[in-house]
Each structure stands twice: as C-alpha cells, then as structure tokens.
Symmetry: none
Subunit: 197 residues, 4 copies
Amino acid sequence: MAITTSERAPRQDNRRQHLLDAAAGLICRRGYHATSMRDIGRATDMLPGSIYYHFASKDELLVAIYAEGVRRIAERVDKAAARATDPMKRLEAACVAHLEMLLTDSDYAQVVVRVLPEDVPAVSVRLTALRDDYEERFRRLIAELKLPKARQRYARLTLLGGLNSAQAWYRPGGDSPARIARRVLECLREPLEVESQ
Amino acid sequence: MAITTSERAPRQDNRRQHLLDAAAGLICRRGYHATSMRDIGRATDMLPGSIYYHFASKDELLVAIYAEGVRRIAERVDKAAARATDPMKRLEAACVAHLEMLLTDSDYAQVVVRVLPEDVPAVSVRLTALRDDYEERFRRLIAELKLPKARQRYARLTLLGGLNSAQAWYRPGGDSPARIARRVLECLREPLEVESQ
Amino acid sequence: MAITTSERAPRQDNRRQHLLDAAAGLICRRGYHATSMRDIGRATDMLPGSIYYHFASKDELLVAIYAEGVRRIAERVDKAAARATDPMKRLEAACVAHLEMLLTDSDYAQVVVRVLPEDVPAVSVRLTALRDDYEERFRRLIAELKLPKARQRYARLTLLGGLNSAQAWYRPGGDSPARIARRVLECLREPLEVESQ
Amino acid sequence: MAITTSERAPRQDNRRQHLLDAAAGLICRRGYHATSMRDIGRATDMLPGSIYYHFASKDELLVAIYAEGVRRIAERVDKAAARATDPMKRLEAACVAHLEMLLTDSDYAQVVVRVLPEDVPAVSVRLTALRDDYEERFRRLIAELKLPKARQRYARLTLLGGLNSAQAWYRPGGDSPARIARRVLECLREPLEVESQ
DNA sequence: AATGAATGAGGATTCATTCAT
DNA sequence: TATGAATGAATCCTCATTCAT
C-alpha cells in the first residue's frame, strides 16, 4: 500500500505529526474528555485556534489518532505474525506485539483501546470501523487454528478482552507485556490443543 | 396515618433514589463526562442545583452509583454462587449472574464497568477500591478450583476481561448474557479440567 | 435605656444569641460576603433555612450584629470615659476601650468596623446610622477639649481612622491594644516637628 | 494603511485596558464581591467568558488592578514629593497627591484602599505586598522628619489611617481632597492641647 | 501556517431564600 | 422552633470553535 515508506512525511507535516503525538500522549493518559484543545495547544506550543489549521475539529483529531494507532499497531502485529508459520506461534507473536504496543510502545495504540467509540457519538461509527478493521487480524489468526466456528468468535473476544484489560492494571516493573500476553494466551491455549494427556 | 407500617414509603429517600437511578441510566449509556448535571436534572425534573441537596458533587454522585452498583451485582453474584457447591458450577453461576447484571439487569453495574476510575481522578482511589472489593469474589471462586497459584491470577483477569468486553459489543437479540457468559468461561474451562479425549 | 440589664435574655433567645455570636465570629474573620448562611448554619448546628425563623434575611442578621456591636462597644467606651473627668483623660480612656473591644474583646465591634455599609446596599443607610450613632461619642469627647470648631471634625476623623486602621495590622504578641490606642492618640497630642532646631 | 505611524493605536492592548478600567470603576464603587464577571462583561460589551482571554481569573484581574493602582498613585505621589525639598513640605505634597488620587482621580487607587487583602484569601499575600510596597514611601518620607524611631511607625499608621478613612465620608462639594489632606496632616503637626488655657 | 481576540453555549457549583410539615 | 427538600438565579469558569489578519 505504501509505495516508499522512507520517503513519506514531507517537511510541512512536521507540525501535524507533533500535534498528533502530543494529543495521543495526553489522551491516552487522561482520556479524551479530560483533554482539552488548550491542553493540546499548551503541549505543542500552539494556540488552541491554530490546531484548527491542521484538524477540522477535536473529534477529527481523535479519528486521526485512532487511524494512526490502528496503522501502527497493525503494522507491528502483522510483521510479528509473519515471522512464524505455525498458526499458534503466529497468534502468540501477534498477542505479544499487540500488548507491547498497547502497554509501552505506543500512545496511539493506547488511545484506540482506551477511548470508547460510544464516548464520542459524532464519530463513533468511524472509530468502531477502525477498531474492527484491526481486530479482523485476530479473527484470521484464530481462524487458522481450525477451531469449531462458534468457538472462534468467543476465543477472539475473550483473548482480546483479556489482553486489553491489562491496560487497567499493568504497571512497569511487574510482568513484562510479552509475558502477560503469553500468560493470557496460555489461559486459552491448552484447551485449544486438547490432544494433551 | 401509616396504613401498613412495613410498607411505609420512605418518602425522604424517594428523590435520592430517583436521582441515582436516573443518573446511573444516563451515565451507563453516555459515559460520565458526557452526562451533565443539567442532563440529570432534566431526567429527574429537578433543577441542577437541587441535586446538590442530595449529593455534594457530581463525583460524589458517581461514587454513590458505583457503590450501589457493586452492592447490587455482588449480592446477585453471591446468591448465584451460593446455589451450587461444585467449584466450577459456582464459578459458572457467578459468571452468568455477573453478565446478566452487566448487560441487561442493572444500569448501576454497567456504570461500574464502563467508567474507568482514572477518568475521574478526584475519586479514582475510591472507585478502584470498590471495584477491587467486587472482583475479590472472583479471586476466591477461582481459588476454589485449585489451579497453580500463578495461573489463578491470569485466569481471573482473562475471565473478567473477556466477560466485561461483552459490554462493548453485546446487542439484545443475539446470544443471551447467560450464553455469552458460558461461552467465555468455556474458553478457559477445558484446560482447567483436562479430561479432554 | 435598659431597665434591668441582668434580667435581659429570656430563655428562648438562647438560639438567637447563639446565632448572632457565631455569625459575628465568622463575619469578623472572613467578611460578610465570604460568609454564607450555610457557614452560619454549620457553626450553629442549624440548617440554613432554620435561621430564617430568627432573622428575616442575611442582611437583617448583619444589622442585628451591627446594632449589638455598637451597643457593646458604646457601653464599654461610655463606662471607661465616665471614670475620668479631665477631658483628655476621658478621651484616652475611650480610645483604649474602643481599641480593646475592636482588637480582642468583641467580634461584634470588629464587624462594625470591618464591614463597610456600602458593601451591603440594601441596608447601608441603617448601618451608617448605627456607626454614626457610635461615633457621636467621640465627637462629644473631642468637643470637650475646646479646640477650634474646624479642627474638631478632623481630629475625630483622624483619630478614629488611625485607631481603626489597627484592625488591618494588629497581631497579638505585639503592642497591646491599649498601648496602640495611646500611641495613636499621642500622634495627635504631640506635634510632629518636635520644636527641634 | 497606517496613516500616522506615531499615532498607531496599540489595538491589542485596547481591550485589556478597557477591561481594567471598567472593572476598577465597578469594584471601587460596589466592592469586589458585589461585582460579578457578568457586570464587568456588561460594562465592556464583552461576554463574561471573553474576559478570561485577558485574565486567568477574577482574582488575577483584581491583582492587576491593584498593581496598576499602586503604580499610578505611587508615580503621582513620588512626583509630588520630588517637587519639594523641605521634609515636611515633601510629606504634605505626598498626602495631597495621595488623597487626590484616592478620592477623585483614580478608580484604581480607590480599589487598593477599599478592597481588603484578607477579603480575597487566594491572593491576599500579593495584595498585601503591593500595599506595603506603596506605603513604604510614607515610611521614608516620615523618616526624613527625624522623629524618635518609635514614633515614626505610629505617625505613619495614623496618618494613612486618617487619610484613607476619608474614602468613607468624602463627598464632592465639601472640602477638597487637597484640603482634607492638609487638615489631616495638621492634626499630627499641631498638638491637640496647646491653646488650652 | 499561525495568531490574537473573541464567541456563545454550557460546565459544575453556591447562593439566599421558601415552605409544607 | 426547626427540618428537609427544593427553587431559581447567579456564581466563576471552561469549552470547542471561529475568523480577520
């Protein structure tokens, strides 16, 4: 899709990127409603009004962060999964990548998980679509496991629910994101393999 | 004057209860920050200022809803678990009760899961304590299963993560809350018992 | 005017007096506008609404405090002045009594000096009348000194201005109210230029 | 576009100045607490919220007025005192300037004297510092008189107390501010008892 | 590409006060 | 005498947003 990744951002996108970074940082820590345009302006040495040159509204800024968050975490997860061929190894790599992004590596990814689409009604449909787009990966990875159809759906929901809930209690210094990811997956894995004993 | 003493309407608590109900309903649907005191006033036929006779602040109102939510869902879960003796049956009953409350039976319970403590910094400690108090039940129910210590923690987190994530996608008409609960639990069950094949 | 001072307050005036005391204490420390009916209620273990049984409004409560303040300080000043016969000694005694009441002995007196009539427009005329009524004493005491007519007025204003300004800077532990009073009076008694040369 | 460069209206400070002027006018007449942001907005043809573009809070607006008040009255007093060399003449000139500003020439100065620092606890320290900074002038002017040390302090307090009390009773049409100032000073210059037989 | 200044609606909250009981 | 519950208006302030420059 991207023709030349290295050649991407022309100089004028500098500020836009700075803005996105700062906003993602604030929103992932304080939440969307608790972050004001003033806050974002302060963090970027910009006046609140100036932000509107780059984004049509606060909601649109959020959508951009969401989109970027999905892009980044998807890219990393895809790369990780691609490094293995065994379906379960692929899923595991994806879970680890997912949680590393979510817990430490990307404010953007954190925003995607933390901000509920329904909390921003005006753009909730688009936010949901972005989320779904991302979660599709896990649907496919799980499909590779050849579970009964009905089971697949719940396995995905439980897996992501379990992984994402880590955002609420993860603290640096305890289990690493990778370890947490494997532990959560472990909770679902053994039955999947069944032939044990 | 009192026709039936036992039936005596505690009139003074009437409005307070009405207020809590209305606020829980609004907050669980729109979120805490998107619900204004004006909204709550409108839903109760009260002036915004009048709410302050009953609650010292919006945050305190939220704490009261949280506390009531925990009280209600805990009561229901405890009763459900008490009806079985087999540890796994007890856990299953608890999961079903939890999800029925969360998805259809109680706006209060929904608030507890939906509103993140960190989104309301001034009272986040108290909200977290209430949540923890509730989740303790699941810690105990899982402990009865006699899993390896390390596994218990992740089993609980994954289970609750999986169950609670249903709030994001549950729609009446699809799988019932009870069925969802059993399906999620199923994802964790089989390995626990290992009697496969 | 008072027929029997000792026989004054009948039992039912208990609460009213309590109310006045508490309100005077709050108002003299925080000011009139910064003291709410709620504050006064809290200090008296009364609900704000209950205060209205005793006083028609917050402004009327202030007028009552003012009146009581004037009554008390006037009584003390009059008694002090009566103990001397020499005009200057009488004035000095009055100044000392005035400042002792104002700085340490009476919250009521403090209110009279601290709350500007113009700050409470609805009753400013009555407050001013009460003040004037009190200051009349000083007019008379100064008249006894047999100064030129024109001088009398300014002597009184300067004297009271000087004395009352102590309210802004007096701190227990420094000069006593009595000493301050004598020092201020001294400024008017002894010429500034010291006949030096 | 600019017709006269030297006459270039500093448009950007226009509103801020207008705001300060209007607020000083209202506050010196009604008092700080009785003046609302709405009132100030109305007087400036601004919405209340717009004021916050220029001042962070109502208290900060007051501090700005105080500072400007001190700046203005200090400037005038300093100039007046500088025009004489005899210490007593210098003090007299200062008193006259002080009272002219206070009674008729400057709403700002009036605010400084009228609003008690303790009435605005959040900024009372800064208000007090501003006042002290101004009064320092009188300390120095009085020091030039070579009075006994102990006397100096009370002379200053009495003098300022007497002068400032004029704010409570001055009415245009009576004695002029300059005359009042001289009369008050006279009270300290000439002994009270002198011509007593 | 950004600023300075403002808007207008709405935020939570506090106020003095009322009144049935 | 007092309370419990509420009122209605006003409080300060913050919000996302706009727009001429």
